[in-house]
């Protein structure tokens, strides 16, 4: 737990700098794995005939699923599966992280067979007091998801709480 967190000029310099582009795959197997992980029973997320009967090209992404980051040993983050180097690192020295919130905006449908190209950047830094963990650094990250046709299909903003 940190007594006092300071947002330095060096940390601010990271704001808006785009990360390495990373590929997220959406496959029938990955859609099923996600839907199963959440506990869906709706056959549209598991069975292609049901998905097509409901009007989709193939199994649709369940809400909040935006493909699985491809995993390459040594290049991927071992814990979160995405790229290891998500742009210039934020040198805050805080070891613990909690999730603060997530917001997704959709611009088109995403189905199995799509390949998404993802970039992200740190959009905001702030400090918040928490009763249980003391001071926390709030890092807002914005990610943009572009499909194989060059269309931006989704944007997601997430807040990491570091303490």
């Amino acid at each position: 737990m940190a007594d006092k967190i300071e947002i330095t000029e060096k940390m601010r310099a990271v704001l808006g700098v785009e990360s390495e582009r990373w590929t997220h795959e959406v496959t029938t197997t990955s859609v099923r794995a996600f839907a199963r992980g959440v506990g869906y029973t709706d056959p549209v997320y598991f069975d292609e005939a049901s998905a097509k009967a409901a009007g989709y090209r193939s199994l649709p992404c369940p809400p909040t699923y935006l493909g699985t980051p491809i995993f390459i040993p040594g290049k991927s983050n071992d814990t979160f599966s995405g790229p290891k180097n998500t742009g210039p690192g934020l040198d805050h020295g805080l070891k613990n992280v909690l999730d603060g919130g997530t917001e997704t905006e959709y611009f088109a449908d995403i189905c199995a067979g799509d390949t998404l190209s993802v970039t992200s950047c740190c959009a905001d830094l702030s400090i918040r007091e928490s009763k249980t963990t003391g001071q926390m650094l709030i890092v807002t990250t914005e990610s943009t998801y572009t499909n194989q046709e060059g269309k931006v299909v989704a944007k997601q903003r997430g807040q990491g709480l570091f303490y």
């Binding site: 199963r36 992980g37 809400p63 699923y65 979160f80 919130g101 917001e103 959709y106």
Partner: protein, 139 residues
């Protein structure tokens, strides 16, 4: 049956969804979502020990709110935006009730839209994951 525009009004409640994710469900979610943070499956992980337990992925609760909305729409529309905040930690093997209410229903540029407010309540009735969504209804 796919949700139709005439089937709900402002103030209508979404059919509730009950979940009680255990460790195995969290492991399935970790594999499906690609988030292998040990805080969600390893009781010996230092942060789990400090908190007294592993905790449910915030993103699992977010996805569960998505499932709630998806079940309500039943493919009679699509989600335009979905957000939530993680205000409290949830522990495995505890019941949680997910639900929501239509706050606003309107037409704009030829589209039929609705805004819903969402919640995920823990066993003591605390809403640990307030959220909201905007959906577009087909017909």
């Amino acid at each position: 049956m796919p949700l139709s525009w005439n089937a709900f009004d402002e103030g209508s409640a979404l059919p509730e969804l009950e979940k009680k994710p255990g460790v195995t469900q969290l492991v399935k979610y970790a594999a499906g979502g690609g988030d292998f943070n040990p805080l969600h499956h390893d009781f010996a992980f230092p942060q789990s020990k400090a908190l007294g337990s592993i905790i449910i992925h915030g993103r699992f609760k977010y996805a569960a709110l998505g499932e709630l909305v998806s079940n309500w729409l039943d493919h009679g529309g699509r989600i335009r935006s979905l957000s939530c905040q993680y205000r409290g930690m949830d522990l495995p093997d505890q019941p949680m009730i997910l639900g929501g209410e239509v706050k606003r229903k309107w037409e704009e540029n030829g589209e039929k839209l609705a805004e819903v407010e969402l919640f995920a309540k823990n066993a003591s009735g605390k809403n640990t994951t307030p959220g909201s969504a905007i959906v577009v209804i087909d017909a």
